[in-house]
Subunit: 361 residues, 2 copies
């Protein structure tokens, strides 16, 4: 068994309206059933007319580019300086929404195909109808990634094979069931195609031969299966953006104990976290003895059922500005509690207690 | 031109102390100069004895695994449920520090090689000395990534070729200079190797033939070049972790105007951001008329030079608990300002002014 990676040579400039199946079929009459065709997204975009006119340079070009980027962006994931990592309308997370200014006239930008899975399917269907070939088609593009320098080619669209090869449930020779082995093989195939495309000059199509059977290709394709839902993703926002969101959370913190009884160890960690920044003389007392708490809570109008109790005393003597600072320090503590997953509500102190205010946890 | 991807068949179980160069050289007498050998890290780890004994099951196994993971972890990047994405001591960011329980006895865990670049170099050197072969060696492992489902194989170590192929400075046929084209070719080669390894059963070594010249290999290898410094990375922390860090920032916010004069548009955004959550009747006034500000600031002891001025008035009538709430709301505003990049200091109100407190921006 072996795989081959072959370049498709002789594909010239592709322009809007070009028939890619004819272009590729003519350049590679040696294609066979079961070949995986790895097609650079740019020629698909060009054939589909996904080009926009922009000024060749100057601030007008930058402004036009920003406008194009906004149109391709579903949400901004991270930015720093001129870098914009965005999620596209397809769901791909990539720099500048994959908008490209290379291998195109200086007065044009190339956008990603509108629906790369559909583009892959259309090309696969056309090659079958025109030449009787049963192939898989991958539309590939170059992407960066967190944590690792350098870019790799990955799949934007696929037809004729599943995007993922699932080894889950297989058992290794030691009797261990394989767990985390859903391989994104179409990304590896796209990368394999890039190896030969990158070595040649201006070769936008490669073929991986030997990976698929020559008959009965699986039509379940779709690179959409590779898109992880943002809610499932541990890195749905850039670090700076998420940190700013944490500040915004703190600014707009709402009242209310959390859904579960407060973890008193976490409460103590929160008190410790603000100990160095609150005004000297400020005292926070966690009333964690059930009887005392019950007695105090009984006296506090509107105190939530079952809440734990944290009393805060401003430094003495208590002046108006001292109470303002104390209030700010109480909000620090509430935010530190929130960072520990502990909800809280700011309430007046129990009648007759020496505290300046109280938190229900 | 074409590339071939070939499996190295007949490599049995590898155990500590095995001579990998002999194992591979015996299994693949057909190796040639210029071949890229893609070696699954697990057999390197096993040969190097990077195994730890753990209980086969139960809570003892989980506890032992946690301890092993802590030892392999330089810092925790993100976690959710039982998932731990960590940066290893090598600098790789990966789930569970690459610790693996598959293809190994149930009472052992496999750790990553201590220095995969050194492992790759040692194997390359041994194959040259033993068989006179001039090869590149990639030590590969399987990793997940943000945003995309499915795993791919990437390089942990490399010898005999650069990790990155740099196209920067090349000019395309349209005269555009290529910008973002540092390709992580060793990752693509590792993925290409996985395609054949994944199709075969228990094949831990693949060969990519035709990618490198047969002579004069570049000895500048090192997958270390792929590790992006966390400070440069837009995703150095998980979203939830960064958001919690933002809360912690808010809890421990320090005094002090920012390094640059406040952007008054940003200040207004911050005031708007908290408008819905502060106590009704609270008034924040941005004193942005220079003369008025100068007059007020002149009367305020300790007011920083050149600071902008934001006056805050508690709802009337001003009660002690009202001042506490007002202080909490002022801290909300300070945090909202910080989210906009605006530093602030809480100060007493100017003498004679109706404000309850002031912020220097």
């Amino acid at each position: 068994m072996r795989l081959e990676i072959l370049p498709v040579l002789g594909i010239g400039h592709v322009t809007e309206g070009d028939d890619l199946a004819a272009v590729i079929g003519t350049a590679a009459p040696w294609l066979r059933n079961g070949d995986v065709l790895v097609v650079t997204s740019k020629i698909v975009s060009k054939a589909e007319g996904r080009l926009v006119d922009v000024p060749a340079d100057g601030p007008e070009r930058l402004a036009a580019r920003d406008e194009v980027l906004a149109g391709e962006t579903a949400r901004v994931v991270a930015s720093r300086g001129a870098t914009r990592i965005v999620q596209t309308h397809h769901g791909f997370v990539m720099a500048s929404a994959g908008i490209d200014a290379s291998n195109v006239d200086k007065t044009q930008l190339v956008l990603l195909p509108v629906d790369p899975d559909a583009s892959a399917r259309a090309l696969r269907d056309a090659l079958r109808e025109r030449y009787g070939l049963d192939l898989a088609v991958i539309i590939s593009d170059t992407m960066g990634r967190p944590w690792r320098n350098g870019l790799t080619d990955v799949a934007l669209g696929v037809a004729g094979m599943p995007a993922i090869r699932d080894h889950r449930g297989e058992v290794d020779p030691y009797g261990n069931e394989l767990q985390l082995t859903q391989m994104a093989v179409v990304d590896e195939l796209a990368g394999a195609g890039e190896l030969i495309k990158g070595k040649c000059d201006q070769v936008p199509v490669a073929v991986v031969r030997g990976y698929l059977p020559a008959t009965d290709l699986d039509d379940a394709g779709g690179a959409r299966a590779l898109i992880r839902d943002a809610a499932q993703d541990l890195f749905s926002l850039g670090t700076a953006e998420a940190r700013a969101a944490g500040l915004s959370d703190a600014a707009t913190l709402t009242d209310g104990p959390g859904p579960t009884p407060a973890d008193l160890t976490a409460v103590r960690r929160a008190i410790d976290a603000v100990a160095g920044v609150v005004a000297p003389g400020t005292v926070f007392t966690l009333v964690d003895e059930a009887e005392v708490r019950a007695g105090l809570v009984a006296e506090m109008p509107g105190w939530p059922d079952g809440a734990d109790l944290l009393l805060g005393s401003a430094p003495t003597p208590v002046e108006p500005m001292g109470l303002v600072r104390f209030g700010a320090d109480l909000h620090r503590l509430r935010v530190a509690l929130a960072a520990q997953g502990v909800g809280s509500t700011l309430l007046p102190p129990p009648p007759g207690s020496p505290a300046s205010a109280a938190l229900a946890l």
